[in-house]
Protein backbone atom coordinates (compact mmCIF):
# COMPACT_ATOMS: atom_id res chain seq x y z
CA UNK A 1 0.00 0.00 0.00
CA UNK A 2 1.33 3.42 -0.91
CA UNK A 3 1.88 5.75 1.99
CA UNK A 4 1.01 9.44 1.87
CA UNK A 5 3.36 12.32 2.53
CA UNK A 6 2.72 14.61 5.46
CA UNK A 7 1.50 17.41 3.19
CA UNK A 8 -0.87 15.02 1.39
CA UNK A 9 -2.21 13.77 4.72
CA UNK A 10 -2.83 17.36 5.89
CA UNK A 11 -4.35 18.34 2.54
CA UNK A 12 -6.69 15.40 2.62
CA UNK A 13 -7.64 15.95 6.27
CA UNK A 14 -8.43 19.63 5.72
CA UNK A 15 -10.41 18.89 2.55
CA UNK A 16 -12.46 16.39 4.54
CA UNK A 17 -13.18 19.03 7.18
CA UNK A 18 -14.16 21.56 4.51
CA UNK A 19 -16.43 19.09 2.74
CA UNK A 20 -18.20 18.37 6.02
CA UNK A 21 -19.29 22.03 6.00
CA UNK A 22 -21.39 21.66 2.84
CA UNK A 23 -24.44 22.98 4.69
CA UNK A 24 -22.66 26.23 5.54
CA UNK A 25 -23.70 29.04 3.20
CA UNK A 26 -23.03 32.74 3.04
CA UNK A 27 -26.49 34.32 3.00
CA UNK A 28 -25.60 38.00 2.66
CA UNK A 29 -26.70 39.23 -0.78
CA UNK A 30 -24.06 40.66 -3.10
CA UNK A 31 -25.98 43.94 -3.19
CA UNK A 32 -25.44 44.41 0.57
CA UNK A 33 -21.72 43.74 0.24
CA UNK A 34 -21.40 46.23 -2.58
CA UNK A 35 -23.56 48.81 -0.82
CA UNK A 36 -21.25 48.71 2.19
CA UNK A 37 -18.21 49.30 0.04
CA UNK A 38 -19.96 51.95 -2.04
CA UNK A 39 -20.82 53.86 1.10
CA UNK A 40 -17.20 53.84 2.13
CA UNK A 41 -16.06 55.24 -1.19
CA UNK A 42 -18.92 57.60 -1.81
CA UNK A 43 -16.63 60.00 -3.59
CA UNK A 44 -16.21 57.44 -6.35
CA UNK A 45 -19.89 56.74 -6.75
CA UNK A 46 -21.43 57.50 -10.07
CA UNK A 47 -24.89 57.21 -11.39
CA UNK A 48 -26.33 60.64 -11.95
CA UNK A 49 -26.72 61.62 -15.53
CA UNK A 50 -28.24 64.99 -16.10
CA UNK A 51 -28.98 67.15 -19.09
CA UNK A 52 -30.62 66.17 -22.35
CA UNK A 53 -27.70 67.75 -24.22
CA UNK A 54 -25.29 65.29 -22.68
CA UNK A 55 -27.58 62.37 -23.36
CA UNK A 56 -28.01 63.42 -26.96
CA UNK A 57 -24.27 63.71 -27.35
CA UNK A 58 -23.80 60.25 -25.88
CA UNK A 59 -26.44 58.84 -28.20
CA UNK A 60 -24.69 60.30 -31.18
CA UNK A 61 -21.40 58.84 -30.08
CA UNK A 62 -22.91 55.38 -29.82
CA UNK A 63 -24.87 55.60 -33.05
CA UNK A 64 -21.73 56.56 -34.90
CA UNK A 65 -20.14 53.33 -33.76
CA UNK A 66 -22.93 51.13 -35.11
CA UNK A 67 -22.62 49.68 -38.60
CA UNK A 68 -25.52 50.92 -40.72
CA UNK A 69 -26.28 47.48 -42.12
CA UNK A 70 -27.37 46.02 -38.78
CA UNK A 71 -31.00 45.38 -38.06
CA UNK A 72 -32.03 47.80 -35.34
CA UNK A 73 -35.16 48.29 -33.28
CA UNK A 74 -35.55 51.34 -31.07
CA UNK A 75 -37.84 52.33 -28.21
CA UNK A 76 -38.99 55.86 -27.65
CA UNK A 77 -39.34 58.02 -24.59
CA UNK A 78 -42.20 60.42 -24.00
CA UNK A 79 -40.55 63.73 -23.05
CA UNK A 80 -40.29 66.80 -25.26
CA UNK A 81 -36.94 65.83 -26.76
CA UNK A 82 -37.79 62.57 -28.49
CA UNK A 83 -34.73 60.36 -28.30
CA UNK A 84 -34.55 56.61 -28.69
CA UNK A 85 -34.60 55.27 -25.12
CA UNK A 86 -32.81 52.12 -26.16
CA UNK A 87 -31.75 50.34 -29.31
CA UNK A 88 -31.45 46.61 -30.00
CA UNK A 89 -29.04 45.63 -32.73
CA UNK A 90 -28.28 42.15 -34.12
CA UNK A 91 -24.53 42.11 -34.77
CA UNK A 92 -22.82 40.25 -37.58
CA UNK A 93 -21.41 37.66 -35.13
CA UNK A 94 -24.93 36.76 -33.94
CA UNK A 95 -24.65 38.63 -30.68
CA UNK A 96 -27.28 41.16 -29.66
CA UNK A 97 -26.33 44.62 -28.56
CA UNK A 98 -28.62 46.77 -26.42
CA UNK A 99 -27.74 50.43 -26.15
CA UNK A 100 -29.50 52.38 -23.42
CA UNK A 101 -30.07 56.09 -23.12
CA UNK A 102 -33.10 56.10 -20.85
CA UNK A 103 -34.84 53.49 -18.74
CA UNK A 104 -38.25 53.73 -20.39
CA UNK A 105 -40.51 51.34 -22.31
CA UNK A 106 -39.38 48.10 -20.63
CA UNK A 107 -42.26 46.17 -22.22
CA UNK A 108 -41.08 47.22 -25.67
CA UNK A 109 -37.53 46.14 -24.96
CA UNK A 110 -38.71 42.84 -23.49
CA UNK A 111 -40.88 42.21 -26.55
CA UNK A 112 -38.01 43.04 -28.92
CA UNK A 113 -35.54 40.75 -27.18
CA UNK A 114 -38.02 37.89 -27.10
CA UNK A 115 -38.74 38.42 -30.79
CA UNK A 116 -34.98 38.12 -31.35
CA UNK A 117 -35.04 34.74 -29.60
CA UNK A 118 -33.72 35.81 -26.20
CA UNK A 119 -35.92 34.71 -23.27
CA UNK A 120 -35.92 37.98 -21.35
CA UNK A 121 -37.56 39.83 -18.51
CA UNK A 122 -37.15 43.61 -18.36
CA UNK A 123 -38.26 45.85 -15.50
CA UNK A 124 -37.43 49.50 -14.97
CA UNK A 125 -39.26 49.87 -11.67
CA UNK A 126 -36.22 49.60 -9.42
CA UNK A 127 -37.16 46.00 -8.61
CA UNK A 128 -36.54 42.67 -10.28
CA UNK A 129 -39.44 40.72 -11.69
CA UNK A 130 -40.51 38.68 -8.61
CA UNK A 131 -41.54 35.75 -10.84
CA UNK A 132 -37.92 35.23 -11.91
CA UNK A 133 -35.54 32.83 -10.21
CA UNK A 134 -31.90 33.80 -10.47
CA UNK A 135 -29.36 31.19 -11.47
CA UNK A 136 -26.49 30.72 -9.05
CA UNK A 137 -23.18 29.04 -9.71
CA UNK A 138 -22.31 26.50 -7.01
CA UNK A 139 -19.11 25.28 -8.65
CA UNK A 140 -16.54 28.09 -8.61
CA UNK A 141 -14.19 28.06 -11.60
CA UNK A 142 -11.22 28.42 -9.30
CA UNK A 143 -8.88 26.67 -11.67
CA UNK A 144 -9.05 29.69 -13.98
CA UNK A 145 -5.92 31.76 -14.03
CA UNK A 146 -6.07 35.45 -14.70
CA UNK A 147 -9.14 37.66 -14.36
CA UNK A 148 -12.28 35.98 -13.09
CA UNK A 149 -14.59 34.97 -15.90
CA UNK A 150 -17.50 32.70 -15.08
CA UNK A 151 -20.65 31.49 -16.84
CA UNK A 152 -22.57 34.74 -16.45
CA UNK A 153 -20.00 36.94 -18.13
CA UNK A 154 -19.87 34.54 -21.05
CA UNK A 155 -23.52 35.34 -21.76
CA UNK A 156 -23.53 39.04 -20.91
CA UNK A 157 -20.93 41.72 -21.45
CA UNK A 158 -21.23 45.30 -20.48
CA UNK A 159 -19.22 47.55 -22.72
CA UNK A 160 -15.90 48.46 -21.23
CA UNK A 161 -12.21 48.53 -21.95
CA UNK A 162 -11.98 44.75 -22.00
CA UNK A 163 -14.63 44.48 -24.70
CA UNK A 164 -13.79 47.31 -27.03
CA UNK A 165 -11.22 44.98 -28.58
CA UNK A 166 -14.14 42.86 -29.84
CA UNK A 167 -15.71 45.89 -31.49
CA UNK A 168 -18.40 46.49 -28.87
CA UNK A 169 -18.98 50.14 -28.02
CA UNK A 170 -18.31 51.11 -24.45
CA UNK A 171 -21.89 52.09 -23.70
CA UNK A 172 -23.72 48.89 -24.58
CA UNK A 173 -24.89 45.62 -23.07
CA UNK A 174 -24.05 42.72 -25.35
CA UNK A 175 -25.92 39.43 -25.11
CA UNK A 176 -24.28 36.30 -26.44
CA UNK A 177 -27.30 34.06 -27.20
CA UNK A 178 -25.12 31.12 -28.23
CA UNK A 179 -23.75 30.92 -24.67
CA UNK A 180 -27.24 30.64 -23.17
CA UNK A 181 -27.99 27.10 -22.10
CA UNK A 182 -31.38 25.43 -22.41
CA UNK A 183 -33.77 26.72 -19.76
CA UNK A 184 -31.81 29.91 -19.16
CA UNK A 185 -32.98 33.43 -19.75
CA UNK A 186 -31.89 36.97 -19.08
CA UNK A 187 -33.21 39.46 -16.60
CA UNK A 188 -32.56 43.16 -17.02
CA UNK A 189 -33.57 45.59 -14.32
CA UNK A 190 -32.73 48.99 -12.98
CA UNK A 191 -31.81 50.12 -9.53
CA UNK A 192 -32.07 53.68 -8.34
CA UNK A 193 -35.00 56.03 -8.31
CA UNK A 194 -38.05 54.46 -9.97
CA UNK A 195 -39.36 56.67 -12.72
CA UNK A 196 -36.18 58.70 -12.99
CA UNK A 197 -35.55 57.77 -16.59
CA UNK A 198 -32.17 59.44 -16.90
CA UNK A 199 -30.86 58.49 -13.44
CA UNK A 200 -30.54 54.74 -13.17
CA UNK A 201 -28.15 51.88 -12.65
CA UNK A 202 -28.62 49.00 -15.01
CA UNK A 203 -28.27 45.40 -13.88
CA UNK A 204 -28.47 42.16 -15.78
CA UNK A 205 -28.29 38.52 -14.77
CA UNK A 206 -29.19 34.97 -15.67
CA UNK A 207 -32.51 33.46 -14.62
CA UNK A 208 -34.38 30.22 -15.11
CA UNK A 209 -36.60 30.68 -18.16
CA UNK A 210 -40.31 30.35 -17.40
CA UNK A 211 -43.56 31.65 -18.89
CA UNK A 212 -44.05 34.01 -15.94
CA UNK A 213 -40.52 35.39 -16.08
CA UNK A 214 -39.15 35.28 -19.58
CA UNK A 215 -42.26 34.37 -21.55
CA UNK A 216 -41.20 30.85 -22.49
Amino acid sequence: MNGTSLSDAVRSGLAEARDSLSTVHMTIPASNIMARADQARRHRRLGVLAGAGGLAAAAVAVSAALPASHHQTAGHSEPAVRLAAWAVTRLADGNIQVTFREATDPAGLQRTLRADGVPASVTFTGQRNPACRSITFPAPPFSDKGAFRGPLTKVLSFGGPANTAYGYPKDALVIHPSALRRGEGIQIWTAGTPGAADNFELHAGLVQASPQCTGS
Binding site: T4, L6, L14, A15, L21, A40, L49, G54, L152, N163
Partner: protein, 177 residues
Amino acid sequence: MQEIWLLRRVWDVDSDRLEFEEFYTAARDHCLRVVLISVGDRHLADDLVAEAFTRAWASWRKVRGHPAPHAWVVRTALNLHVSWWRRRRREVPLGSQGEAVAASEYPGLDNSLVAALRRLPARQREVIVLRLLLDLDTATTAQTLGMSSGTVASYLHRGLAGLRRDIPALKYQEQMK
Protein backbone atom coordinates in the same frame (compact mmCIF):
# COMPACT_ATOMS: atom_id res chain seq x y z
CA MET B 1 -18.23 65.95 -22.91
CA GLN B 2 -18.44 65.51 -19.17
CA GLU B 3 -21.78 63.72 -19.52
CA ILE B 4 -20.36 61.21 -21.97
CA TRP B 5 -17.55 60.47 -19.60
CA LEU B 6 -20.03 59.99 -16.78
CA LEU B 7 -22.16 57.69 -18.89
CA ARG B 8 -19.14 55.61 -19.82
CA ARG B 9 -17.96 55.47 -16.24
CA VAL B 10 -21.42 54.24 -15.24
CA TRP B 11 -21.16 51.47 -17.79
CA ASP B 12 -17.69 50.59 -16.60
CA VAL B 13 -19.00 50.38 -13.06
CA ASP B 14 -21.90 48.18 -14.19
CA SER B 15 -19.51 45.88 -15.98
CA ASP B 16 -17.51 45.55 -12.79
CA ARG B 17 -20.68 45.03 -10.78
CA LEU B 18 -21.78 42.18 -13.01
CA GLU B 19 -18.41 40.52 -12.73
CA PHE B 20 -18.18 40.99 -8.98
CA GLU B 21 -21.70 39.67 -8.39
CA GLU B 22 -20.81 36.55 -10.29
CA PHE B 23 -17.52 36.14 -8.48
CA TYR B 24 -19.20 36.65 -5.12
CA THR B 25 -21.95 34.15 -5.91
CA ALA B 26 -19.43 31.56 -7.00
CA ALA B 27 -16.83 32.05 -4.27
CA ARG B 28 -18.67 33.09 -1.11
CA ASP B 29 -19.53 29.65 0.31
CA HIS B 30 -16.09 28.25 -0.46
CA CYS B 31 -14.35 31.21 1.18
CA LEU B 32 -16.66 31.06 4.19
CA ARG B 33 -15.95 27.36 4.78
CA VAL B 34 -12.20 27.84 4.52
CA VAL B 35 -12.26 30.78 6.91
CA LEU B 36 -14.58 28.89 9.25
CA ILE B 37 -12.05 26.06 9.44
CA SER B 38 -9.36 28.59 10.28
CA VAL B 39 -11.24 30.56 12.94
CA GLY B 40 -13.76 28.02 14.28
CA ASP B 41 -16.59 30.49 14.91
CA ARG B 42 -19.46 30.69 12.43
CA HIS B 43 -20.60 34.21 13.24
CA LEU B 44 -17.08 35.53 13.29
CA ALA B 45 -16.33 33.79 9.97
CA ASP B 46 -19.46 35.36 8.46
CA ASP B 47 -18.35 38.81 9.54
CA LEU B 48 -14.76 38.36 8.42
CA VAL B 49 -15.70 37.04 4.99
CA ALA B 50 -18.34 39.74 4.48
CA GLU B 51 -15.80 42.41 5.31
CA ALA B 52 -13.20 40.79 3.08
CA PHE B 53 -15.63 40.71 0.14
CA THR B 54 -16.54 44.33 0.86
CA ARG B 55 -12.88 45.24 0.55
CA ALA B 56 -12.61 43.10 -2.58
CA TRP B 57 -15.41 45.11 -4.18
CA ALA B 58 -13.83 48.37 -3.07
CA SER B 59 -10.63 47.27 -4.86
CA TRP B 60 -12.23 45.16 -7.58
CA ARG B 61 -10.15 46.61 -10.40
CA LYS B 62 -7.09 45.25 -8.60
CA VAL B 63 -8.60 42.05 -7.21
CA ARG B 64 -10.18 40.92 -10.51
CA GLY B 65 -6.71 40.66 -12.05
CA HIS B 66 -5.27 38.70 -9.15
CA PRO B 67 -4.28 35.15 -10.12
CA ALA B 68 -6.59 33.79 -7.39
CA PRO B 69 -9.20 36.36 -6.31
CA HIS B 70 -10.80 33.93 -3.84
CA ALA B 71 -7.41 33.53 -2.12
CA TRP B 72 -7.19 37.31 -1.85
CA VAL B 73 -10.53 37.25 -0.03
CA VAL B 74 -9.47 34.42 2.30
CA ARG B 75 -6.16 36.08 3.07
CA THR B 76 -7.91 39.41 3.81
CA ALA B 77 -10.39 37.65 6.11
CA LEU B 78 -7.56 35.90 7.98
CA ASN B 79 -5.67 39.19 8.35
CA LEU B 80 -8.82 40.77 9.74
CA HIS B 81 -9.06 37.88 12.16
CA VAL B 82 -5.58 38.61 13.46
CA SER B 83 -6.55 42.26 14.03
CA TRP B 84 -9.83 41.19 15.63
CA TRP B 85 -8.02 38.75 17.90
CA ARG B 86 -5.55 41.40 19.07
CA ARG B 87 -8.38 43.76 19.93
CA ARG B 88 -10.40 41.04 21.65
CA ARG B 89 -7.42 39.89 23.67
CA ARG B 90 -7.13 43.37 25.09
CA GLU B 91 -10.83 43.75 25.70
CA VAL B 92 -12.09 40.31 26.81
CA PRO B 93 -9.37 38.09 28.29
CA LEU B 94 -11.65 35.06 28.62
CA GLY B 95 -11.88 31.60 27.06
CA SER B 96 -13.13 30.99 23.55
CA GLN B 97 -16.79 30.22 24.17
CA GLY B 98 -17.73 30.88 20.55
CA GLU B 99 -15.36 28.22 19.30
CA ALA B 100 -16.85 25.62 21.64
CA VAL B 101 -20.33 26.35 20.31
CA ALA B 102 -19.10 26.20 16.74
CA ALA B 103 -17.37 22.89 17.29
CA SER B 104 -20.49 21.19 18.58
CA GLU B 105 -22.57 22.65 15.76
CA TYR B 106 -20.18 21.53 13.02
CA PRO B 107 -18.59 18.14 13.79
CA GLY B 108 -16.13 18.64 10.93
CA LEU B 109 -14.45 21.38 12.93
CA ASP B 110 -13.97 19.07 15.87
CA ASN B 111 -11.11 17.00 14.49
CA SER B 112 -7.61 17.20 15.86
CA LEU B 113 -6.07 18.43 12.61
CA VAL B 114 -8.30 21.48 12.42
CA ALA B 115 -7.64 22.23 16.09
CA ALA B 116 -3.89 21.91 15.55
CA LEU B 117 -4.07 24.17 12.49
CA ARG B 118 -5.65 26.88 14.60
CA ARG B 119 -2.85 26.63 17.14
CA LEU B 120 -0.19 27.40 14.54
CA PRO B 121 1.30 30.91 14.27
CA ALA B 122 -0.70 33.09 11.89
CA ARG B 123 1.72 33.10 8.95
CA GLN B 124 2.26 29.33 9.03
CA ARG B 125 -1.50 28.85 9.21
CA GLU B 126 -2.08 31.16 6.25
CA VAL B 127 0.47 29.35 4.12
CA ILE B 128 -1.05 25.96 4.93
CA VAL B 129 -4.55 27.22 4.18
CA LEU B 130 -3.54 28.69 0.83
CA ARG B 131 -1.19 25.91 -0.26
CA LEU B 132 -3.06 22.85 0.98
CA LEU B 133 -6.68 23.89 1.46
CA LEU B 134 -7.03 26.24 -1.52
CA ASP B 135 -4.48 24.19 -3.44
CA LEU B 136 -2.57 27.21 -4.75
CA ASP B 137 0.92 26.80 -6.15
CA THR B 138 3.87 28.30 -4.33
CA ALA B 139 4.20 31.33 -6.64
CA THR B 140 0.52 32.31 -6.30
CA THR B 141 0.66 31.78 -2.55
CA ALA B 142 3.73 34.00 -2.39
CA GLN B 143 2.02 36.71 -4.44
CA THR B 144 -1.14 36.54 -2.34
CA LEU B 145 0.74 36.78 0.95
CA GLY B 146 3.30 39.30 -0.28
CA MET B 147 6.33 37.14 0.47
CA SER B 148 8.94 35.29 -1.53
CA SER B 149 8.50 31.70 -2.72
CA GLY B 150 11.36 30.67 -0.45
CA THR B 151 9.58 32.14 2.56
CA VAL B 152 6.39 30.29 1.60
CA ALA B 153 8.33 27.02 1.45
CA SER B 154 9.90 27.76 4.81
CA TYR B 155 6.57 28.58 6.51
CA LEU B 156 5.01 25.48 4.96
CA HIS B 157 7.81 23.30 6.27
CA ARG B 158 7.58 24.77 9.75
CA GLY B 159 3.80 24.61 9.77
CA LEU B 160 3.78 20.95 8.76
CA ALA B 161 6.42 20.20 11.39
CA GLY B 162 4.21 21.92 13.97
CA LEU B 163 1.22 19.81 12.97
CA ARG B 164 3.32 16.65 13.11
CA ARG B 165 4.44 17.47 16.64
CA ASP B 166 0.91 18.36 17.69
CA ILE B 167 -0.75 15.26 16.20
CA PRO B 168 1.45 12.22 16.69
CA ALA B 169 -1.36 10.02 15.38
CA LEU B 170 -1.41 11.71 11.95
CA LYS B 171 -0.97 8.91 9.41
CA TYR B 172 1.57 9.59 6.69
CA GLN B 173 4.81 8.27 5.31
CA GLU B 174 8.08 10.20 5.54
CA GLN B 175 9.28 11.15 2.05
CA MET B 176 12.65 9.77 1.00
CA LYS B 177 15.31 12.46 0.77
